[in-house]
């Protein structure tokens, strides 16, 4: 089963299209407005046009056929509509309606009927009980949530068990002015699940990191083995540390729980796990924008000691190590800044200064260092050391991450320049530390022995 028709269709039908704002059949029509191919509103009881597109009564009436169908119809009619789509050659479908496995016995039976249809035909179904997906590079926004047209192209794929969480994460990326290569809410996974979607986006040209939100799945081993086989870096946010009882089951029809098992399992299969959506996005952002770290040795360069201590504290707690700098680096640093506040690692320059970037470069070039995290409060008169950091990660093969705070109106331009130079920027010491910790954890889980064999998992503690 290829998901190419689902995630990269040539044409779309919106079944149950409506002209009433607020209805899913209208909002889904709104969502696909940016799509460059044909869009067909389908509704047997409507006529004329919806958002400028001619309404047809049935997918069977669309002469050239349809690749992707968005099912904006209630649960009870989903099986019949899906069957009609499948028999008329629709390759991919999304079912938004709730009322399936998450809603008791009748819903379970309905979901079994849906699964039987997708088993029998060559149609891939996302959902049911999802708010959909977005692939910004394809201008494809198969979601009924408002504002999905604001999701810009990027290189991180957000794959979430919950459609709500998928959107929550995507809008946080919008707020941070970061793009995504995809946002997918899996919902009840009657047909396609984590494995198929991970495999698809592992092969996706625009995707450089995959971030997962996982509540629970019937096939944990399949998910873990898929993650292990993927070449794209993956990070996971596992929810369900506590027993939230019937509420979880009422969601996508899967129990959460077995949290500890998942967390350990993911690490064993090479996937760092983190504890919040912001950490998840930041980890994905770091992994997608830097070389991989070769180990856990972090060099911290800070212009202010207090945030530096926060960073060191968090990184040590996350398993990072702070090696001594080589004598050469020490000499370079004290040569640049004879009055430096603290020349050991973490290096504390005491204040931002014109030479700050040179100090960072010296630490990045230190052979003892696998990864560099820089912190400085933005100082308008100095700006950021963009010239010194431009190309530094590529030159050294060492990831260089940057964390800062400042008044947005003063720093936004300098920050955009720094990001344009390929440096991932995080807007607090804690976020910088957590993103660095994810790189370090990824390096630890994918450590190679001297003969090149990956030892991932075996050093897990």
């Amino acid at each position: 089963m290829s998901l190419n028709t689902l995630f990269n269709p040539s044409s779309i039908a919106v079944i149950g299209a409506s002209e009433t704002p607020g209805k899913i059949g209208y909002e889904a029509m709104q969502g696909v407005q940016s799509f460059p191919g044909p869009i067909h509103p389908v509704n047997p009881t409507a006529e004329g046009e919806i958002l400028g597109e001619s309404v047809v009564a049935s997918v069977a009436d669309i002469d050239d056929g349809v690749d992707l169908a968005l099912l904006c119809v209630p649960a009870s009619v989903v099986p019949d509509v899906l069957e009609e789509c499948a028999t008329t050659g629709v390759g991919g479908a999304v079912s938004y309606a709730g009322g399936f496995a998450e809603a008791g016995e009748d819903g379970e039976q309905l979901q079994e009927r849906v699964a039987a249809i997708t088993d029998e035909h060559d149609t891939s179904l996302l959902g049911p009980n999802t708010s959909g997906f977005v692939v910004p590079h394809a201008e494809l926004r198969a979601s009924f949530a408002s504002g999905v047209d604001r999701i810009e192209p990027g290189n991180i794929a957000v794959l979430a068990q919950s459609g709500g969480v998928a959107h929550s994460l995507a809008f946080r990326a919008v707020t941070e002015e970061r793009g995504l290569s995809a946002m997918v809410g899996l919902g009840n996974r009657a047909d396609i699940g984590f494995e198929e979607v991970i495999e698809f986006f592992d092969d996706h040209d625009e995707t450089n990191a995959i971030v997962l939100h996982v509540e629970g799945t019937d096939n944990a081993r399949g998910l873990l083995e898929t993650c292990e086989a993927a070449t794209t870096p993956i990070v996971a946010y596992t929810v369900g540390k506590e027993d939230v009882g019937g509420f979880a089951e009422s969601h996508t029809g899967a129990l959460t729980g077995e949290y500890a098992l998942y967390e350990a399992g993911f690490r064993q299969y090479g996937v760092p796990t983190i504890d919040s959506g912001t950490e998840l996005l930041d980890a994905g952002y770091a992994l997608a924008h830097t070389p991989e770290a070769n180990g856990t040795n972090v060099g911290v360069v800070t212009a202010q000691a207090g945030p530096g201590i926060i960073i060191a504290d968090r990184l040590l707690a996350a398993g990072a190590t702070f090696p001594e700098l080589t004598d050469e680096t020490d000499e370079i640093v004290t040569d640049i800044l004879p009055d430096i506040t603290y020349a050991e690692n973490p290096v504390d320059t005491g204040r931002p200064m014109p030479e700050f970037g040179e100090v960072v470069a010296a630490v990045a070039r230190d052979p003892n260092i696998d990864c560099v995290l820089v912190y400085e409060l933005h100082e308008a008169a100095l700006g950021f050391p963009t010239d010194a950091l431009d190309g530094l990660a590529t030159e050294t093969g060492t990831p260089v991450l940057f964390a800062t705070d400042g008044s947005p109106d003063l720093l936004d331009e300098d920050l955009a320049d720094l990001e344009a130079a390929g440096v991932p920027v995080f807007r607090s010491p804690e976020r910088g530390a957590d993103a660095t910790a994810a790189l370090v954890e990824y390096a630890r889980l994918h450590a190679t022995t001297d003969n090149g064999t990956e030892t991932e998992g075996t050093t897990d503690d």
Copy 2:
């Protein structure tokens, strides 16, 4: 010793004022530009004006005297300059220079000389080795960091051991468009420390919550007893879980460490502790803007299950409880929404809808509920349930917090309306849950017995 002259002066001298941008003596002059009273640049080797103010050679040359002196001079001359200030009646001083107790034996001796001067005279000194303070209500920005003029008035006082962390937190508040009643970086605390500053802002009319950043202090008991005696809610961010070694000592001359002791101590004395600057600010924001919760019973109302599970998971882990709703509330909710997805607590409406606010109100009025957290993805066609939530916390005495995600350009206006109606808003499920957890923890630590005696600390686990 009153800190009123320090934090609420009538006139300011900037000693070591400079006309060179980037120098502390210039940036400090910039910082105080908003101050409505007289500003005197002091520099024996300069003439004319700096930023429009006439330079004088010495504080002794200022006819009407000076309340507050900002010492922009190197460590070595601080004792002499401070002595001159003290003998000419300056009531408050800030010393920015590093090179004191954090910098080895010579610095320690220098700091002892400084402490001896403040002991002898009626002059309160902030620092040395701090980037200063800001009191936005007084238009007073005694900091050399750029952008401090963006810090708007609000009702949360940020009191940080580190000047860098104070500024990091203040700029995060700026980014969130939240105001502060104060931002203070204590630095080396040669004279005034946590106790004096907490006491001052506990009595400060504009301050409704105090948030602390603590690395370590020689007098932990004094700090804890001051917190216990304060009537303003206090939350603390204790840094130093890991041994960051010499780096910490190189900072404000105090060792971090004894982290567990601090954390337990704070709780025992009624102060919730949290784990990041964002959590700290969110906790302060919640405590400053809502009634106190009467217990740990949380009611969650969500329009999307996935974020609701994240919230429930985090709140349970933090010690919150989820009581059943009363039969009356159940009836009201199912009356409003007969097809509701999940009517128990957490309540899941399945989607935002016009009746969403009524459901929230019903839960807030439930006598089993001590605190309400609402989550919904922003839906442009519906907006937020501002009318239903306006005044709800005041009417019920139950805090009502709101968490959301959405595209900033679409939700910012609705969000401002909601905040104007007195509802604290948080921009992710996790942040909403963490802020609610802080209210719950505060309630737990300040629980009163039936006879009205506070039992704070005794139920600590």
